[in-house]
């Protein structure tokens, strides 16, 4: 295919006007390119414009400015072929509460009928780890199980792009690991994944690239390892000397530690060497101390 970009966005703008607050730019000029087969995470605090951006890409919302192409088409100008475009995308919304009276497998099998080339419902149920719950009514599922059902419904159509809006909210740690594995497998099969999250570890574990959004603007796009210059940031070395905590920052922590070892003639009391965590970097980026 000539167009290797799954998603391309330039100058995206969306303004909300309300009587109480006047007009507010929810999205204030965003540029974004997502390649095919990539897991791309949008990270940002609540109200930063993540969901608005994603819902414009999904075709749910109009925009006030900018260019958007998803699978080569403008989601705001789909016209009569909208089904063909929706046939190629999968959407996992933030929170839903529907179809309570149906069972897991009834719902998934039914949704398979909507698509021209669906996945096998049985294997989707297995992939999302709902095998044991497949005959359970949806209103008896836990929050995490319900979310996995949402994901199952998002991937049943065998989409080329999967949109995930805060997918692991309410998961226990084990379920999250299993879920991440599922998402990586989808990527390995060639699915492009656009993920919004406010979990840093999720972005770090999953994403090939991360965009940080603050106040409707992208602050940085990078790999998780390089975000905010994290890879080249100075390491912080601290130790105890004469009952006082000492701390220095250095680009060459190993050399500093070697010096300390010779100074102390062996073990350095309470020695730590820290590189800034993704969280430190992120909090700095969104303007939190």
């Amino acid at each position: 295919m000539a167009n290797e970009l799954a998603i391309s966005v330039s100058g995206l703008k969306k303004t909300y006007t309300s009587k109480a607050n006047g007009s507010k730019d929810a999205v204030a000029g965003i540029d974004l390119d997502v390649s095919r087969g990539e897991i791309f995470a949008i990270l940002g605090p609540n109200g930063a414009g993540k969901t608005t951006t994603v819902e414009i890409l999904e075709g749910y919302r109009d925009r006030d400015g900018g260019e958007v192409k998803v699978l080569g088409q403008d989601p705001a100008k789909l016209g009569r072929d909208s089904w063909a475009w929706r046939n190629r995308i999968g959407i996992v919304l933030q929170s839903t509460n529907d179809a309570q009276d149906l069972s897991v497998s009834e719902t998934i099998k039914h949704f398979a009928n909507y698509y021209s080339n669906p996945r096998d419902p049985e294997s989707v149920i297995r992939d999302v780890g709902l095998d044991e719950k497949k005959n359970a009514r949806i209103d008896t599922l836990s929050g995490g199980q319900r979310r996995r059902l949402d994901v199952a419904l998002g991937i049943i159509g065998n989409p080329e792009i999967l949109f995930l809006d805060e997918p692991t909210t309410g998961f226990d740690p084990e379920a999250r690991r299993a879920f991440w594995e599922l998402i990586r497998n989808l990527r390995d099969e060639g699915t492009t994944i656009l993920l919004t999250t406010h979990y840093l570890d999720e972005a770090e574990a999953l994403a090939d690239r991360v965009a940080v959004i603050v106040d409707g603007k992208i602050v940085e796009v990078s790999t998780p390892e390089n975000l905010g210059g994290r890879n080249t940031a100075k390491a912080r070395i601290s130790w105890l000397e004469n009952g006082q905590r000492q701390e220095i920052e250095s680009d060459f922590p190993a050399a500093e530690v070697t010096k300390l070892i010779s100074k102390f003639g062996g073990e350095v009391p309470e020695l730590t060497v820290i590189r800034p965590s993704l969280e430190d970097i992120y909090l700095k980026m969104i303007g939190q101390p």
Binding site: Y60, R86, S95, A99, H110
Partner: protein
């Protein structure tokens, strides 16, 4: 290849029925409410309206017609805003499903619920209130198309009206009074010809009056046609009014139907 719009519509109909059957309260209420009303009115108003025409007989025609309005129009105009609140419609919007398939699914739900409701009402009426069932093939056939066309008309108007309530919580308060007033104006609870003329003329603008009249032509003796306002059952007019409302409803539904509250 796109999965067929009509085929998906029928699959949705099956799913809607399954969901409906599993909400036991609503099933029981839908079936029992008309029977309870028939019981109350049948107990209060004894005596004949005309030779061989009991009030119960007259009332059953009105109950079946307003059953269409309750099950189709009222139920959907309340249920669809709730489905919007729950995200059911937003999720569907993100799939290749056509709104037409969604509409067809609703119409199937309404039609099946109506057939069950009418069966229960007629069985109960015949067993306990001496209700006379339609006695000719022609009347049964007319009964059939009235239920079918009435279901479709009520469904599409319910979908069109679902754009009016802002959310599921307020829907019932917006929809129910309209239905109750229409029932009083359309000769469901009272004999239509005894209503003031302005009320009759107002009711004639809406489908319920015509559905009720059509049902009377099925359940009352032929001689009673002379007691109608036009001295006739006006069968062609009934069909025309229902078709016009169905077309108007479809245009409105396609224009105003919202998948979400934004």
């Amino acid at each position: 290849m796109r999965p067929g719009i009509i085929k998906v519509g029928f699959l949705r109909g099956g799913l809607e029925i399954k969901q409906f059957m599993r909400q036991r309260e609503s099933v029981v209420f839908t079936l029992l409410f008309p029977i309870m009303l028939l019981f109350i009115f049948g107990s209060v108003f004894k005596g004949d309206l005309a030779p061989g025409v009991t009030f119960s007989q007259y009332f059953v025609a009105g109950m079946i017609a307003s059953g269409l309005v309750n099950t189709g129009f009222q139920q959907l105009a309340i249920m669809i805003p709730i489905e919007r609140d729950f995200g059911t419609l937003k999720r569907l919007r993100g799939t290749p499903v056509s709104p037409i398939s969604y509409f067809i699914g609703k119409a199937i739900l309404v039609f099946v619920a109506m057939v069950v409701q009418v069966g229960a009402l007629m069985g109960f009426g015949a067993a306990l209130f001496g209700l006379d069932l339609p006695n000719t093939t022609e009347r049964w056939l007319r009964f059939g198309w009235l239920i079918l066309l009435g279901s479709i008309c009520a469904t599409i108007l319910g979908i069109a009206f679902s754009a009016v309530p802002k959310n599921g919580r307020g829907a019932s308060a917006v929809v129910s009074p309209i239905v109750i007033i229409l029932q009083f104006f359309s000769g469901v609870f009272f004999v239509f010809t005894t209503l003031p003329q302005w009320m009759q003329q107002f009711a004639a603008l809406f489908p319920l009056k015509w559905l009720t009249q059509g049902m009377r032509s099925v359940f009352l003796p032929e001689s009673f046609a002379a007691e109608e306002v036009a001295k006739s059952w006006e069968i062609p007019q009934i069909a025309i009014v229902l078709l016009i409302w169905t077309v108007v409803g479809t245009v409105l539904a396609l224009k105003t139907f919202r998948w979400s509250d934004k």
